[in-house]
């Protein structure tokens, strides 16, 4: 019995790692970029390692490294970080009902690991339900953490030998992974509306240089999708009633 349980956990760990593997690989150039940039902008090796180890957020790392290098005031750096991170508030909110009653060791660890990538894998209805699914999520998120750290370290070690990598299109791998995760979930009109609105508004807000653009575009897109689903539901109910009356 105990042996079977152990086997089931091992199986879940493998599944979690496999599910995260494409994302782990897709952020390889991004991680190398973050690590090498820190070194090129005069971070010590310790500081450069602590960025992925503790802060553990690609977009924050990239932006903040430049800000620290430009001697921007601390308050501005912290505020910018909060704005960039604010989308994670949404992730926590979306997963609240599934995670809030768990012991702190699960909430704390999964919370720490709750990146865009782990959230992207959390969409299934039964995600985080039961210990096996939690082990799965921990393995997925944990493998992402370790890879992120490793890619950063490669960047830190190679940093002084690499040219400035910021301008050669490394971000495409991230875009493609998100495309691969989002497009298959567009199975109905409400999802289509969500994705189209998010795409249009995010580009618009980015061109306007709105710091909060990402979150605002997402919120409006979510509301558009929600309204579409509600309208469709209402229409379906009306149609069903009509059909019944005809019968």
């Amino acid at each position: 019995m105990a042996f079977n349980r152990k086997q089931a956990y091992i199986k879940m760990i493998q599944k979690g790692i496999m599910a995260m593997l494409p994302l782990n690989l897709a952020v390889l150039p991004w991680g190398i970029l973050c690590g090498s940039l820190a070194i090129q902008r005069d971070f010590t090796v310790l500081e450069a390692i602590l960025m992925p180890m503790l802060v553990f957020a690609g977009s924050v790392q990239l932006v903040v490294i430049e800000l620290i290098n430009d001697n921007v005031p601390l308050a501005t750096i912290l505020f910018t970080t909060f704005i960039i991170s604010s989308r994670h508030l949404l992730y926590g909110l979306a997963l609240r009902d599934k995670l809030k009653d768990l012991p702190f060791k699960w909430r704390g660890s999964l919370g720490f690991l709750l990146t865009d990538e782990l959230f992207a894998l959390s969409g299934k209805k039964r995600a985080y339900q039961g210990k096996l699914k939690l082990v799965y999520a921990l393995a997925a998120g944990g493998s992402f953490y370790l890879c992120w750290l490793l890619w950063n370290i490669i960047g830190i070690v190679a940093g002084s030998y690499l040219p400035d990598l910021t301008s050669i299109g490394l971000d495409f791998a991230i875009a493609v992974t998100f495309i691969a995760l989002v497009i298959p979930s567009v199975t109905n009109l409400a999802m289509l509306v969500t994705v189209v609105v998010a795409g249009l508004l995010s580009v618009l807000f980015k061109l306007l240089n709105w710091e909060l653009g990402l979150v605002i575009a997402s919120l409006i897109a979510m509301y558009s999708g929600y309204l579409t689903a509600k309208k469709q539901n209402a229409l379906n109910i009306v149609n069903n009633k009509k059909a019944k009356i005809k019968l």
Binding site: L50, A175, I183, A198, S202, G225
Partner: protein, 104 residues
């Protein structure tokens, strides 16, 4: 100084991820909000990837000589048809690298 900054940054990123997982927080999420939040993943992820494709150096680039756009089109079609993350990554990254090596 940088060390202190890094620790403060870590607190902020952890705070933003953990806050709503905390049980003592006095909010309850009803059915409507749950439905609304079910759109969060496609919305946020799309709001991250679309600007990467269309914006270069703060200006809009929708020309087909933009390697990002052509490769992303391949990615969207592959993802839609195959639903496979690996196949999508494989085909579109190949197209992207080819376009970089030999621009149209």
């Amino acid at each position: 100084m940088t060390l202190l900054t890094i620790i403060l940054l870590a607190c902020i990123t952890f705070f933003s991820r953990y806050l709503f997982l905390h049980p003592k927080l006095p909010i309850r999420i009803g059915a409507k909000i749950t439905h609304f939040l079910s759109f969060s993943a496609p919305a946020v992820l799309t709001a991250i990837w679309v600007p990467i494709i269309f914006i270069k150096d703060n200006s809009f680039n929708s020309s087909f000589s933009n390697p990002y756009l052509l490769s992303a089109t391949v990615a969207v079609i592959t993802a839609y048809k195959s639903k496979s993350v690996y196949l999508t990554l494989g085909t579109s990254l190949s197209v992207f690298v080819l376009l970089r090596l030999a621009p149209i």
